[in-house]
């Protein structure tokens, strides 16, 4: 929106930033409800096929899942640190923090691909393509279909988040997002933290509760 349009709609910059933040929180709320449908399905099917779901959880690689949890938590810290750094007028530290967070996000995706390829090699594929002889029951098939849906949707958010962080790093480098008004960085940071929040709940449901 142009500066002139901003002046017409908003009384001052504080009010504009407030509106942008509120819009972002509304978006995060709708994103969360998108995942909520899958969490609801998980809860319902788990109550029906508890033993099969537990067997599926036990079969997942908890080491990779736990490593990815730590990776996302630390990346979330670096995103928060980038905002803190920009507010303190430390642009290089801000950009460096964003790059570390992006690198951690990429590491998360690589580990996820390693995990997927291991599953595919065993015949653990989503829906009708499932052919894992060790866990043939309908409940296990349902668990792994939900596993792919939840982690796949989450991975798409990670990819979007990494793209946003890269765009923000460029904006800070070019002086378009500045210490006096870091609102774009704050909004992008909120998105990345949501990605972290989702994984915080996915991790125990898919890797720990066997």
């Amino acid at each position: 929106m142009s500066d002139l349009a901003d002046e017409i709609v908003y009384a001052d910059r504080r009010q504009r930033d407030h509106a942008l933040h509120l819009g972002m929180w509304l978006f995060l709320g709708s994103e969360t409800l998108l995942f909520a449908g899958l969490f609801g399905l998980y809860a319902a099917y788990r109550s029906v096929y508890d033993a099969d779901f537990a067997a599926g959880v036990d079969h997942n690689n908890a080491t990779i899942g736990t490593a990815n949890t730590l990776i996302l938590i630390i990346s979330s810290f670096f995103v928060a640190w980038s905002i803190h750094s920009l507010r303190a007028n430390k642009r290089r530290m801000c950009i460096g923090s964003l790059l570390v967070a992006m690198l951690l996000g990429c590491t998360f995706l690589v580990l996820k691909l390693v995990e997927y390829s291991g599953h595919f090699a065993e015949g653990i594929e989503p829906g009708p393509h499932y052919s894992f002889a060790e866990l043939p029951a309908t409940g296990a098939r349902t668990f792994f279909t939900l596993y792919y849906s939840m982690t796949g949707l989450h991975a798409l958010h990670v990819i979007a988040g990494i793209t946003i962080l890269g765009w923000l790093a460029l904006r800070v480098k070019r002086g378009r997002t500045i210490p006096e008004r870091p609102v774009e960085l704050e909004l992008g940071g909120l998105y990345w933290h949501l990605v972290d929040l989702m994984w915080i709940f996915l991790w125990p449901l898919l890797y720990l509760t066997g």
């Binding site: 509120l22 929180w25 908890a62 995103v79 066997g210």
Partner: protein, 103 residues
């Protein structure tokens, strides 16, 4: 054009902490809680496993929202939005499980 009444909805302050120490403490506690959650899962607590894991996850999510997402400094409508979202998820999951449990 906005009027003064909308100021009531704005955050009371735009001041931010000058030290990064709370962020460092938060990430260390989050890492510790992750390790605790993993260790508890190895203990195989049976039916208690899921509630305990989700309780720790909720605690971690609260810390991320509080320290990293700066929820306490968000405006009142944003805070309401966050709480309503959580309530809707609890309602959805609780309703689905409750329905199946009572059939």
């Amino acid at each position: 054009m906005p009027d003064d009444a909308t100021d009531d909805l704005l955050p009371e302050t735009t001041e931010h902490p000058t030290t990064g120490r709370p962020l460092v403490v938060t990430v260390l506690v989050l890492i510790a809680l992750t390790v605790i959650s993993w260790a508890i899962s190895r203990a195989h607590l049976g039916d208690l496993g899921i509630p305990i894991a989700l309780l720790i996850a909720a605690l971690k999510a609260g810390m991320v929202a509080w320290a990293f997402m700066e929820l306490p400094r968000a405006s009142a409508p944003a805070r309401i939005m966050a709480f309503v979202t959580i309530a809707f998820i609890a309602l959805l999951c609780g309703g689905m499980v409750g329905d199946l449990a009572m059939r």
